[in-house]
């Protein structure tokens, strides 16, 4: 049984050396080859050729892919190979770009997928050295969240001992600035990893879980725990769902956000118990009752937060049950001992391990498996994924190691036909923004991501900024208002015009957005609709061309 606060052991990183195989999913489709998608651009650069040559089927010289615009999107058999790759890339990663397609053609999709699902534990693994070096400048992240929390609390106590407001205010402001900077460094790292990490599926899954276990950074002192919460989600993103839930539920950020640090036998608070059932494990129609909420709240009593290294004073007879890890505390004196009943099953009074047992009961239910797999499918495919793919994922989820295996479900999803066949939807804000940046700048590092953060804060989608625990909705109706579409186009304009503010002055990296580049011609131009083509032709500057391309339905929908 996984213990609370245990981390996955890093698996040995290995690249399976296989010859380039025809990409399996293409074999099942009849593809019309387009000569225009085969562009040998530079001497020795055969990447585009490898991709197109890998498919079977005759090459019809001079014939462009299906020209019927919308019709081609909905008839999978006529989707060009390039469009399939584009679609798959946008669904599995933060956005298609040249370096991604290069790794697909070098490794083959399934080996790439296996690598993605067992990444090295160090999150900055695989990043360009120059990017790693730039990230290293954010020193605050070297400290653990709870170390910060303890330091800051000690500082607060010191400040409160001062006698006048004049003395207190500047120190308080200083402390607040420090906390804010720590939070910003965590946000920057998250964005940089989304843009540049080769382990894209883990990054997508990290954002998925941060939204699933959504907390709001401006409540209480959650900013102090933001970096650790993110790191936890990342390290557990692709493994056993139970271990993920256990760790996220007992993280100080979650305990504070849903008020569980005040949940005690004398004064119960149901907030965390309710959301654990409704939002995290079963869903609102998952078949639990108000009694289950109350009983789960009893289970959760005693799980709290302590702001210093000093332990609580615990009664002698219970001292053996007291446990601290960082700022997390299980306090047996606050715990409601006695048996509980969860979903009709008796849970014997055992203390801290009751939570793990309660989760076993809950996660074993078919409703839970469906709920979790639907959430995963929704994140990668879009709102209202087809039941067919959820069913397949549930089987893989259950048969994977531990019986609640996230990675197995994702692998099934990635290899399914639904990954490319389900209809396109307006992209979620963060996927539009980060996808556009991946396309526009590829590995050229955005050294000033503050502007990116601002865009995401305005359009929605930033982790830790959602005030309510339900996370950002997946339904496009919530991010496709007239005003939001306008904001998208404005962001597209700023990216398209070179986004100078994205590059910090000291970094010596100059960004110039050239979107009508080789990648565009090999990977997008072949399938873009003639309607959009005609409009692009009317652009009178590169910036304008970029604006129109990034604003087009082809780039906005994923």
């Amino acid at each position: 049984m996984p213990r609370i606060i245990s981390l996955l052991k890093p698996t040995a990183y290995s690249i399976r050396k296989k010859p380039v195989k025809p990409l399996a999913f293409i074999l099942s489709l009849a593809i019309v080859m387009s000569s225009s998608s085969v562009i040998a651009s530079e001497a020795g650069d055969q990447q585009a050729l490898i991709l197109t040559a890998a498919a079977t089927g005759p090459a019809l010289i001079g014939v462009k892919p299906n020209q019927e615009g919308k019709a081609s999107k909905h008839n999978p058999l006529s989707l060009s190979q390039q469009e399939l790759l584009w679609r798959k890339a946008n669904r599995l990663t933060f956005g298609a770009n040249e370096i991604l397609f290069k790794s697909w053609s070098e490794k083959g999709l399934e080996p790439w997928l296996d690598e993605q699902l067992s990444p090295p534990s160090d999150p900055v693994s695989g990043l360009n050295p120059s990017i790693k070096e730039w990230l290293d400048r954010d020193e605050l992240l070297r400290k653990k969240g709870y170390e910060w929390a303890f330091e800051n609390q000690a500082e607060r106590v010191k400040i409160n001992k001062l006698s006048t407001e004049e003395e207190k205010k500047p120190l308080r402001d200083e402390l607040n600035k420090k906390i804010e900077e720590y939070s910003k460094q965590s946000q920057r790292l998250n964005i940089q990893l989304a843009l540049y990490s080769p382990y894209q599926i883990r990054e997508r899954a990290t954002w998925m879980w941060l939204n699933h276990f959504s907390v709001y950074r401006y409540k209480n002192n959650i900013r102090e725990f933001e970096a650790d919460y993110t790191a936890k989600a990342r390290s557990l993103a692709l493994g056993d769902f139970k271990e993920l839930v256990l760790n996220m539920t007992t993280d100080p950020a979650m305990l504070l956000y849903l008020d569980n640090q005040t949940n005690s036998v004398r004064r119960p608070n149901e907030n965390l118990a309710r959301e654990l059932l409704e939002l995290h494990t079963l869903g609102v129609n998952g078949g639990y009752s108000q009694d289950d909420v109350q009983e789960l709240a009893r289970v959760l009593t005693g799980f709290g937060v302590r702001w210093s290294a000093e332990n609580a004073k615990v009664s002698k007879e219970r001292l053996g049950d007291y446990r601290r890890v960082g700022a997390f505390e299980f306090n047996p004196d606050q715990h409601d001992w006695g048996n509980k009943k969860i979903l009709g099953q008796v849970l014997k009074s055992r203390g801290e391990s009751e939570l793990s047992e309660a989760l076993d009961i809950i996660l074993k239910t078919p409703q839970s498996a469906e709920f979790v797999c639907e959430k995963i499918a929704t994140h990668f495919l879009g709102f209202k994924p087809p039941q067919s793919v959820v069913d397949k994922m549930m089987k893989a989820y259950r048969t994977g190691p531990g019986g609640n295996h996230i990675g197995s479900a994702i692998k099934t999803l990635a290899l399914s036909k639904e990954i490319t066949q389900t209809p396109l939807q307006l992209s979620r804000p963060e996927l539009f923004i980060l996808g556009s940046l991946r396309f526009a700048f590829d590995q050229k590092m955005i050294t000033n991501p503050n502007l990116v953060m601002t865009w995401m804060n305005i359009l929605g989608g930033s982790p830790f900024l959602r005030q309510t625990p339900d996370g950002y909705p997946a339904d496009p109706q919530f991010f496709s208002s007239a005003a939001q579409m306008q904001t998208r186009f404005e962001i597209a304009k700023q990216i398209g015009q070179g986004g100078q503010n994205l590059f910090a002055k000291e970094s010596n990296v100059v960004g110039f957005t050239q979107l009508s580049n080789r990648f565009y011609f090999t990977s997008i131009d072949p399938w873009i609709s003639p309607h959009t083509q005609k409009i692009l032709e009317q652009a009178t500057s590169a910036g304008e061309w970029n604006l129109l391309l990034l604003s087009s339905p082809e780039l906005q929908e994923k």
Partner: protein, 394 residues
């Protein structure tokens, strides 16, 4: 009612109404029953975030004054400084210039001891709770009270903020019009045309067109302001500027609106009849007066409710400020009760303090807003009860 059922039923109702009233034909009449004048009435909700100290705006006089002075030795407003409007209450002198005329001409009403049933005294929790619009009844509600109010009304519901607040969740048609930032046109006319063309025959075509039209409207509505500024008129900033812009937009297409203002969390050095808080209250008052002035004749069919999540400790703290409390003072503009004190208004004294420290919460904001909307006939009673469950019981 379970969350999903509530959402499903409200969407079904909406689509049924849409087919009945000729949505498909392109005409967009106002929805809802014919007894209300939704295309004539306007409603604005202003949220003062941070816990505005109501006692500093509407301050005790007469019988309650001695106790008030004892509790707030350094930050009370002396009786010879506050402007009496009843035996019991006076106005902060800094707001009198703006609010006294509105009180005298019966535009303005005050709701003392106003607040929410939430007792957490937590900004986040109480604001979040208030924005859902739920009461103490069982079951969960979907979205926020403004969203449930505006859904399906076709009243140009707009949040005059950067992003719609939680109060507006549930109405996907709500617009965000950040009046604190002047939205200059970001695109050339040709670029606008081309982007609109990109979405020809696309499901998002209407939204894209609306967005550009919205920008144009806003630019138009604010053009006069820009001209005046160019002509040397005084530069009005802050809340007053935002309120004037909001009024311009509400006179035009946006008949249900939301604004918020921060800066009320006065834990230290709040001052008395002068100082930080009085200064802030002056800005607020100036903005409210400017809104009324800008609305002009349309103010007759417009109501405004100004709320805050909680008031502050009645007794001052060790830093010449106040901490989080319960009851505060809310304001109504354009109600039938202008020129009066609305709701329960006992004299302030030790025995009525909440938890021995705070002005009590005696007037639930939801009941006040519900009565206001009902008196205005903006929407049907049914809609009010959907937006604010458990109100309008009698």
């Amino acid at each position: 009612m379970k969350r999903r059922d509530f959402l499903a039923s409200s969407i079904m109702t909406l689509s049924a109404l849409m087919t009945q009233t000729g949505w498909a034909s392109g005409a967009l009449p106002a929805l809802g029953d014919s007894s209300h004048k939704s295309n004539q009435s306007r409603f604005l909700f202003i949220f003062l975030r941070g816990g505005m100290d109501g006692m500093h705006l509407l301050t005790p006089r007469g019988a309650g004054f001695e106790f008030y002075k004892r509790c707030r030795p350094n930050i009370h407003i002396p009786e010879d400084k506050s402007i009496a409007i009843t035996d019991q209450w006076g106005l902060n002198p800094e707001v009198a210039e703006f609010l006294l005329p509105l009180w005298n001409d019966k535009t303005l009403a005050f709701v003392p001891y106003a607040g929410s049933i939430d007792t957490s005294r937590s900004h986040f929790d109480t604001q979040a709770f208030m924005e859902t619009g739920r009461g103490s009844g069982p079951g969960s509600v979907q979205g926020g009270f403004m969203g449930r109010l505006s859904l399906g009304l076709n009243a140009g519901a707009a949040s005059f903020t950067e992003v719609p607040p939680a109060a507006f969740f549930g109405d996907p048609a709500v617009l965000s019009i950040p009046v604190s930032k002047y939205a200059k046109e970001a695109f050339t006319p040709k670029q606008k045309e081309l982007i609109v063309q990109l979405y020809e025959h696309h499901a998002l075509e209407r939204k894209v067109e609306e967005g550009f039209a919205l920008r144009q409207d806003m630019a138009g509505a604010l053009a006069a302001e820009m001209e005046a500024a160019a002509g040397g008129a005084p530069n009005v900033k802050g809340f007053e500027q935002a309120a004037i812009r909001a009024a311009k937009l509400m006179k035009d297409k946006n008949h249900i609106g939301f604004m918020d203002v921060g800066g009320w969390d006065t834990h230290a050095n709040q001052g008395n009849h002068t100082g930080y808080l009085s200064s802030n209250l002056k800005n607020l008052a100036a903005g409210l007066a400017a809104f009324v002035s800008e609305m002009g004749p349309l103010m007759k069919s417009t109501t405004v409710y100004v709320a805050t999540e909680f008031g502050r400790t009645f007794k001052e703290n060790g830093s010449r400020g106040t901490d989080h409390g319960r009851g505060s003072v809310h304001l109504m503009l354009g109600s039938p009760w202008g020129g009066t004190i609305v709701g329960k208004s006992p004299t302030i004294e030790e025995s009525i303090l909440d938890a021995k420290r705070d002005a009590p919460m005696l007037n639930d904001w939801r009941d006040q807003v519900a009565r206001l909307l009902q008196a205005q006939a903006l929407v049907s009673a049914e809609k009010i009860k959907q937006a604010l469950p458990g109100t309008l019981r009698s």
